[in-house]
Each structure stands twice: as structure tokens, then as C-alpha cells.
Subunit: 385 residues, 2 copies
């Protein structure tokens, strides 16, 4: 917890629950009659509403992107190093909006919410979602906040998929799309890792076919395993080597013993799994990974990404990280190639990093310089209008 809130922090923030009564028809064909989005905003919307930036979160993210909820908070929001006064997403100049997506488990309507038809938690009956459903719900959020056009929409990983979908669905409502550590579709290997994670959850007897809340239990082992699988694949081999090497937990080779946990990396992973399964919802994890797997930017454009991007009219910044093997620089290059072929304005930066996919969440000087430079350009556009 901070003794003193740092000067470049947005400080103490309070999430708002914003309710929507207009039914939302989902990509699956089902309808959410009404829903709530839990939202945080930082900075002030200017008079003409031209300085708004939407932050789209990834698989395990939520609305709490910056600042602290109280002085007792151990850690600030998940992108605090990027959002605040003088930071790349400068709250002195921009109005930053970060919702928890529907289907999430941090206050927005999702599997842990009460299904009004049954008065029980939705659980496995919550409708499957696609990235476009999040975009639609975010567009309605923009309406409610008086934002006709976003100065920028920004997201990493699954967040980057939302950014790209926005650019195609609402070309006149976004001026800049910042796509970080993302892809136009997952590879078979990525789908495979997600499927193993889902299997781990579903085969936990405490999963109870998804009705664990009604049974007053939690599939903690399965969700912990899912997190461990994700976590290892979001890091790089090099980083894990630097961080843990092959250090034994006891500091020495225990001849004759096969303790359940012997290497430092094992206890680290166990901790990651336990911590995550204590705060995240298993049905949300299933729903979010399925949305990831199904995302295919060009599916309805005859599988031609150039055709897809022709529908966009914003400028693009694409960022990748060298050691990210789940959303590799090759995937980013495919986005860039398609944008160029579609005659779009695109900047691309390949950042050197040994932090794997998680690099998009972590401090990196070059990364911050690139974002700052790009955002400064957006700020200049606004002030010159």
C-alpha cells in the first residue's frame, strides 16, 4: 500500500456501475435484456468531447486500470505505469475510460451475476460472447458518456482484438487504434493451450458443470491449473531462466527426497495459480478464452484481412514484443501488411523485450517512449483543431 500517493498517479479512484436498460442482441443470437458495466474514468472530458481514450482490457483484466481504490491497496491498477499525469496516457490532457467487459467477474454483468429468470447466478447459462459484443456494449457506454468519437482506442492481447473490431464496426467513431501484442486470429497452438486450460477447469469435480456457485464451491484447482498454463506461456523462456534458473527451493539438492515442490519456479507457479483462483471466476475464464479462440478479424470478409481493414478509416499504431511467442511479432507484421495493402495509415514498432507476452503490461522505456510520442501527436491534433 502507498504511504503517499505518487505525484504521477491518478490517486484514489472510485469505479462507477453504469446500468443499461436497452436490450443488447449478442452475436450468438441471444439477448441480454439489461446489463451493468463497471467503469473507471481518469481525467476530464473536454468541452467538445474530443479527448477521450478507451482502454480495452485483456483476458484477466478489468476496469481498475490506474490509481488506488483506497490507501490500503497493495497495488495500483493494472496499467498504472501507462496512465496518469505525465504518463503516456496523460490524464492532464485526456479523459481515459476503462470498463470491465460484460462476461467479466469484477462488477459488470457476467456469470457471477444473478440471472433474473432464475434468481440464481448465471453460471454456465450466461450467453457466450464474441469480441463484437464487447465493442457494441462499449459503443453504448460512449453514447452514455457523451463521446461521439474516441481520440484513441487502446488495448493489448484480447484488448487489441477489441480495438481492431472497433475500427471495422464504427469507423467514424475512432481516430486512432493502438493495437498491442495482438493478432487477427489465434494460431492452432494458442487455441490448444486455451483448450487445455478449459479442460483443467471442466474436469475439476468442484466445477459441477459450471454450477459451482449454486453448490457453494469453487473449481480452484482447475482454475489454478488454467492460470499456470497461461502464465508460463505468457512469459519467455529467457525471462523464466533469469528469474528462477533451476534454483531449488531448499537451496540444495535434496538427495533421496521427492518433495512436492522443489524448484523455485514450481512454488512461484503454485502461488500464481492459487492467487488467481481466489479472485477470478471459472465461467468467466471459459467465456473469455472462447472469445479469444473465435476471434477471426476477416471471417466475414471472405478471410481476406485487406478487405476487412478497408472498412477502417482511423490511423493505427501496432506494437509487438520480440519474446512474445503467443502473440508474436509475426502476427503483428500480418496486421501491418494487411493495413498497408488496404492503404491505411499505420505505424509499427517492434519492441525488444525478454518479458514475453506480459511485456505489454510491464515497464519498458522504449515502449513508453513509443506510446508517449504517438499520444503526443494525438494531443497536438486535438489542440490544433
Amino acid at each position: 500500500m502507498p504511504d503517499v500517493i505518487p505525484e504521477n498517479s491518478v490517486g484514489i479512484v472510485t469505479p462507477q456501475a453504469i446500468h443499461f436498460d436497452e436490450p443488447l442482441v449478442l452475436a450468438c443470437g441471444r439477448t441480454l435484456d439489461n446489463y451493468t458495466l463497471m467503469v473507471e474514468t481518469y481525467g476530464e472530458l473536454n468541452a467538445d468531447g474530443s479527448n477521450a481514450i478507451l482502454i480495452c482490457h485483456a483476458l484477466s483484466g478489468h476496469h481498475h486500470a490506474a490509481g488506488y481504490h483506497s490507501m490500503a491497496d497493495q497495488r495500483p491498477g493494472w496499467w498504472d505505469n501507462h496512465i496518469g499525469p505525465g504518463k503516456p496516457f496523460d490524464t492532464n490532457r485526456f479523459f481515459i475510460v476503462c470498463p470491465n467487459n460484460i462476461g467479466g467477474c469484477h462488477g459488470s454483468t457476467g456469470p457471477i451475476s444473478i440471472n433474473p429468470d432464475t434468481d440464481q447466478p448465471w453460471g454456465p447459462d450466461f450467453p457466450p460472447l464474441r469480441v463484437r459484443d464487447w465493442v457494441e456494449s462499449q459503443a453504448r457506454l460512449a453514447d452514455k458518456l457523451g463521446i461521439r468519437q474516441w481520440a484513441a482506442i487502446v488495448g493489448g492481447s484480447l484488448g487489441g482484438m477489441q480495438v481492431m473490431r472497433w475500427a471495422l464496426e464504427y469507423p467514424d467513431r475512432v481516430r486512432h487504434a493502438v493495437v498491442i501484442a495482438s493478432a487477427m486470429k489465434l494460431s492452432a497452438q494458442n487455441i490448444a493451450f486455451n483448450e487445455i486450460a478449459r479442460n483443467a477447469i471442466r474436469s475439476d469435480p468442484e466445477f459441477c458443470n459450471g454450477r459451482y456457485l449454486e453448490q457453494q464451491t469453487q473449481p480452484r484447482n482447475g482454475l489454478g491449473l488454467a492460470r499456470m498454463i497461461g502464465h508460463v506461456t505468457y512469459l519467455s523462456d529467457e525471462l523464466m531462466g533469469n528469474k528462477f534458473g533451476r534454483e531449488l527451493r531448499s537451496g540444495s539438492f535434496q538427495r533421496g527426497q521427492d518433495a512436492p515442490i522443489e524448484f523455485q519456479v514450481e512454488s512461484y507457479l503454485r502461488h500464481q495459480g492459487d492467487a488467481f483462483s481466489g479472485t477470478f471466476d471459472a465461467n468467466t475464464y471459459l467465456l473469455m478464452t472462447k472469445a479469444l479462440d473465435y476471434f477471426d478479424l476477416a471471417r466475414e470478409y471472405d478471410h481476406n484481412p485487406v478487405e476487412a481493414f478497408r472498412h477502417a478509416s482511423c490511423n493505427f499504431l501496432v506494437v509487438s514484443f520480440s519474446s512474445d511467442w503467443r502473440f508474436s511479432p509475426e502476427r503483428a507484421a500480418e496486421i501491418v501488411e494487411a493495413l498497408i495493402a488496404a492503404d491505411k495509415n499505420v505505424a509499427y514498432t517492434a519492441i525488444e523485450s525478454n518479458l514475453g507476452h506480459d511485456a505489454f503490461l510491464l515497464p519498458n522505456q522504449r515502449y513508453e517512449q513509443v506510446l508517449t510520442a504517438y499520444i503526443n501527436r494525438i494531443a497536438a491534433e486535438i489542440s490544433s483543431k
Copy 2:
């Protein structure tokens, strides 16, 4: 099943159970009073016993490396493409020996064997093993078969670790060491994947703390998950892309449905997991992955692999595969560098392949040419004596 046994097959083979009564003191300090090795041999040992090749199996391997057990067999042994008349390990010229290692679950003494002290299966009480224990048991097998010195010892992955340990422990008993898709020690990432697999097994309620056989059950879900994790990491991203792409099982995007299995890769993985968990023992999987994790060629040589390899006197062939990201070409290069620095005779081939770690088990013309050329040299040495 073969209608006709192919001409270049070793044909119908019968494994032998070879019993050892001399107690084996293990690296862990405990002792196996007696044990059985299930062994297959192909070809004939020559008069001076100079044409013997030992095949060391990997994590999920066993003694059945070539040929068929009966005409009803669906598939031949796991390395049948390399072992047989006219194949790289030519049974017209060599006597090939392949044991199932102790701790295994295919007939050699291991966790599914009866513990004579309790008259129950050993289960989790089976002593933890290290690679050196397998080497010691294989040395005694050589004694029993009248093989003073192996013409070559060959192995991939965990098998390659046995080959390297042999070269250090019994330098006068091996003339050629063929180390394929292996490493002097695992990376933290590799250990992490193994730990997740072990967690999947241990957290299956049917695991019963390892006493599942006594409880007449099996941790099939956990073992299946472990196999899926291993399998995905043994393949390459490119291979999975070529094999499955993002093909949907139903052939079309099922709007509105979230069936448990939708992508082809998911049903493939599920099948792999189910098939494996029906034939393999969970305690053996735990034991074998721990032996993998602990292996550290240079641990007792002050962590200096050059010092370690100074103890070897054989020639080395080291082989790696370009898309193998768990036992990468970089790991092979480290072996080669250490061997060169230790003034050893080493040949190294980096094979182009998109098949990932599993490439060492699969057909590849260049790989077969390299092995054939090397083995021909060994055959020439024998006949010129």
C-alpha cells in the same frame, strides 16, 4: 495391423523379462533389492560382442522400439522407422537392445509392480529415480547380455540424457554416444511445464495421493491433461497450424453455440489425452518428469560441463531439430561447445524440421541420412578390427 510384415521390419518380436537379484543402490540412497527389466533385442550379437547398440527411451517410451508383437498389432514399435534390416540401426549388422527403464509401466519394475514389503502396488512409495539409476541398471543388463562395451548408445530427449550420463560414468564401455534432441539440463520453462503436468495429476481426486491402484481407480483426467500439455509443447506452432489450422469440427462457425469441443485441434488433443491415460501410469509419469527436471549433467562437476565431458572418451553425434522449442538447437549447441572445449570428437547436425520435439521420433530423410552415415562409420570400424 500389417497384412504382411514389411521386408525391412524386424518382424514379430517377443520381449524378455530379465530379472536382477543383486540389490541396486539408487541415487536417492534407497535400495531396490531386486528388479526386472523388460527388454527387446533385434539382430544378433557378434562373436566378440562389439556390435551392440543400446537404445534409451524417453518419457513415454518403452522396450518395444521395433517390429510387431503379433499380426494383430495396429502399429509397430516406437522407433520402427529407424530400426530394422537396411534401416539406420541396421539389424543385419548390429545387435540392438532396448529396455523399458525401471520406474516404467511396461513390464519393468516400477510403481505398478508389487512392493514385496506390502504385497500392494508400490504406487507413490516407489523410490524416486535419477538418470544415473537407469544407466546403472542398463550397465548390469549389458553385463548379463555379455556386452562389455557398446558400439553405440543412442537416445532422444530424456534418452539423450541417459546417453550423456553413460559417457561420463562408464567411459570405457561406450564407443559412440548419439545424443538427439536433448539438453544438459532443462530450462526453467521446461520445469514449469512439467510441474503443471504433475499438478494436473496430483489434483485429480482419483489420484488418491498416488494410491489409486489400491483404490481401484485411475487419475485419468489428470494424466490426460498432463499428456495434452506435453503434447502441445512437443509440437511446433507451424506444425499445428498446418495440421489443424483453425478448422472447426463441424465445418462451420456455430453461431450461438458453445459446444465443449469446436475446433479440430481440441478433439485431437482430447483424443491424445484419453489414449495416453488409458495406457500409461500416473506415478510413472511423475517419476519420469522428476528425473527429467533433476538431470543436470554438470551438477557434481562444479556446474562446468567442460569438466564433466573431460571424463568421457567416446565419440559423439549430436542432433537437433530447428522447430524443437523444448529441447532447442541452442541446447544442442551448448553440448557441442562443451565437447569441443573438452577436446572430444563430436559431429553435430541441425536438422530442418517443422515437427517440433517429436521430430526425433518421426520420418525425415535428412535425419535418416545422418544417422545412416554415422552408423555406417561404426560398422566400418567393427569390420576393420
